[in-house]
């Protein structure tokens, strides 16, 4: 294992396949599925300074590339921060899995999927990664379609939309190959950029190509769904930066910034407005993913004004915010025995599950970027730039924010209503106070001391050297 590709791609995928054999022992399998990505995160961080490590007098040297079918896969030391973050996501989602109803494939497939997302970032030529994304989509099907239920419309639409993205992304690269030498080919560049953006919109479920998200979230277990969406969003963020970094025709395209601003703002406002009318917590959660994708796109538009720093600053708080929100949703889903998670089913939840209900509301406040919480610093900086740039985008953002405020107030209103048939006795385990207090403490600390979350990954985007001014 003296090679970064073998260590951070082949090994986890192989171990994930082995975990399938341990399906009969779910606790042991879940333990390994948390331990393995944690170890990989540690190793990636250790080697992120240099691939040459001296430890207790022993010399460990890793090679940084591997040739597969004549093509090169290369993971350099300064790219290992991204690897560490992806495995950290896998670790976070495997850590509390025994608290919830979870898919029995989760332990093994989460590890395999994480391995493939790492692979996506480092294949050369990197356009081929579109096929790896398609593989991930297909592998994720068992996680999204629970046992005993027929395949529903959401999963089918998800497969269809994701597959349609594949030719768009692959053809875009071919279409504008060598374009740098032909500055007059503006039409070709615009066509290529259109294909790339549409491909990414389909992958990430950005407005107006988002219809699979709420449908799929309603059909799936929230924990599996949230894992897949979070790791996808983080990976696609890196992958899009790869595109911008690699292709001068794309990053120098004049209209690109404006298109990204519109796409981001419309995603935020559409997510907020649509969420305000929802009666299902799982669907609301999917609109939160859409809004966060919108914020990321908006940040891409402001890369010349320091957008990369905002991305770095928001990565961990966003991951943690979505994790805590889905922690609360999944815990409540299991304990009120509700697969659908209609808001009405949460009536009186504050009396029966005071801490988890509190965590749900706090997580909502955190994710929309309220002061004191972890996402506030990065969103404040972003909105500062947006206000100075264009008031229209700011108004759209405010409308989206108000939509989510309505969601929070509606959820709170239902949770504090006393149920007609009694049922107000507390049924939440007392031990829950510990993880929940820790989660809230981390959120508040990250909001008041933003460096807490951004310092460990401050060099994570350094490899995109063409994007820095």
């Amino acid at each position: 294992m003296n090679n970064t590709v073998l260590l951070f791609v082949a090994l986890p995928i192989a171990l994930g396949l082995l975990l399938i054999l341990l399906e009969r022992w779910p606790r042991f399998s879940a333990f390994l599925a948390a331990l393995i990505p944690l170890s990989l995160t540690g190793l990636a961080l250790v080697f992120s300074q240099s691939l040459n490590l001296n430890f207790l007098g022993q010399q460990f040297v890793l090679e940084d590339s591997l040739s597969v079918f004549g093509r090169n896969i290369q993971i350099e030391a300064n790219q290992l921060g991204m690897v560490a973050l992806l495995y950290f996501v896998c670790f976070l989602w495997n850590l509390p899995v025994k608290f919830f109803d979870y898919n029995h494939w989760f332990s093994s497939l989460s590890l395999i999927i994480s391995g493939f997302w790492v692979l996506v970032q480092f294949i050369n030529p990197f356009l081929y990664s579109a096929l790896v994304v398609e593989l991930i989509v297909l592998i994720s099907v068992p996680l999204l379609s629970p046992r005993g239920a027929p395949a529903k419309a959401g999963i089918m639409r998800y497969l269809t939309m994701q597959t349609l993205a594949l030719p768009l992304v692959l053809l875009s690269g071919w279409m504008v190959a060598g374009i740098e030498t032909s500055p007059s080919a503006q039409a070709l560049v615009s066509r290529g950029a259109f294909l790339v953006l549409t491909g990414f919109m389909l992958w990430a479920g950005v407005f107006p190509l988002h219809s699979w998200q709420p449908m799929l979230s309603e059909e799936s277990q929230p924990w599996s769904y949230s894992f897949l969406l979070v790791i996808m969003q983080v990976s696609l963020t890196f992958f899009f930066l790869h595109f911008l970094n690699q292709y001068p025709w794309l990053r120098n395209l004049e209209q690109l910034g404006l298109v990204l601003k519109w796409l981001g703002s419309l995603s935020i406002v559409a997510a907020g407005v649509l969420a305000a009318f929802q009666t299902n917590l799982k669907r609301i959660s999917s609109y939160i993913f859409m809004a966060e994708a919108g914020y990321t796109i908006l940040t891409f538009a402001y890369i010349p004004q320091g957008g990369l720093d905002i991305i770095t600053m928001s990565l961990l708080p966003r991951i943690f915010g979505l994790w805590s929100l889905n922690f609360a949703t999944s815990y409540l889903s299991k304990n009120i025995s509700s697969e659908k998670m209609e808001l009405e089913e949460l009536k009186g939840a504050i009396y029966r599950f005071p801490r988890t209900s509190g965590l749900l509301i706090i997580s909502f406040l955190n994710i929309i970027g309220m002061p004191l919480f972890s996402l506030f610093p990065s969103k404040r900086i972003l909105w500062g730039i947006v206000i100075a740039d264009n008031l229209v985008f700011q108004i759209l953002g405010i409308l989206g924010f108000l939509g989510f405020m309505i969601v929070i107030l509606r959820t709170l209103n239902i949770m504090i209503k006393k149920p007609e048939n009694g049922g107000q006795e507390k049924v939440e385990k007392s031990i829950m106070i510990l993880p929940i207090a820790l989660i809230v403490l981390i959120m508040v600390m990250a909001g008041t001391i933003p460096q807490l979350f951004s310092a460990p990954i401050q060099n994570i985007l350094l490899s995109f050297n063409n994007l820095f001014p």
């Binding site: 096929l131 297909l138 099907v141 395949a151 497969l159 269809t160 594949l166 071919w174």
Partner: protein
């Protein structure tokens, strides 16, 4: 005569895709899928030596076999009824499919010159025909088997087009993996649906 012989496989492959779009008989659909993959071979032979040209059809036939075995296992294979009359839905899909193929046919020359000048018009017609038939299939169904068939048709068309633009062993290997896993996903859906019907 020679020209007809050259273009015949293209039309047979497209008719097979059209048949899959129109008819809803599992046995017939799987036979059509196999035919569709077999008649890709002449177009692929124009691009590659035989060892490489056979990869895509061979993978497609494997996936079709996988789907057949799964359907057989869940009791979904019935004798083919060729004399069954067409339903209004089938007539609509047939007309829509023919309309799409006609549109590609009429705009093919201009499109080929403007976007894909290095690809032959015949190959472009076949690949876009398959992609559009697959997309149409994906837009008109809710049954998992047809989702798998739609995705396989769409991807086979795209794979053919991309092979004409760029070849790489890694790309070919990834396409094979995608097709095989798509077969497994199709089988997974078929089994799930059968299980939930029994429950």
């Amino acid at each position: 005569m020679r020209e007809i012989l050259n273009t015949l496989p293209i039309y047979i492959a497209l008719i097979a895709a059209l048949l899959n779009l129109v008819r809803r008989q599992w046995s017939l659909n799987l036979i059509a899928l196999v035919l569709q993959f077999i008649f890709l071979i002449p177009s692929l032979l124009d691009l590659f030596p035989i060892q490489i040209a056979l990869i895509q059809p061979f993978t497609g036939i494997m996936v079709s076999l996988m789907l057949y075995l799964t359907l057989h296992q869940v009791g979904g294979i019935e004798p083919i009824k060729l004399n069954r009359s067409l339903t209004p839905g089938e007539i609509f899909r047939a007309l829509a499919g023919i309309f799409l193929l006609a549109i590609i046919f009429f705009f093919l020359d201009d499109f080929q010159k403007a976007v894909f000048p290095t690809v032959s018009p015949e190959l472009l017609y076949l690949s876009f025909g398959l992609m559009l038939m697959g997309m149409m299939q994906l837009g008109t169904i809710r049954e998992p088997l047809y989702l798998a068939i739609g995705l396989l048709t769409f991807l086979s068309g795209f794979q053919l087009l991309y092979s004409a633009l760029e070849f790489s062993y890694l790309l070919e290997a990834l396409f094979v993996a995608v097709n095989l896993i798509l077969g497994i996903v199709g089988s997974f859906f078929i089994v799930k649906n059968a299980e939930s019907r029994l429950a």
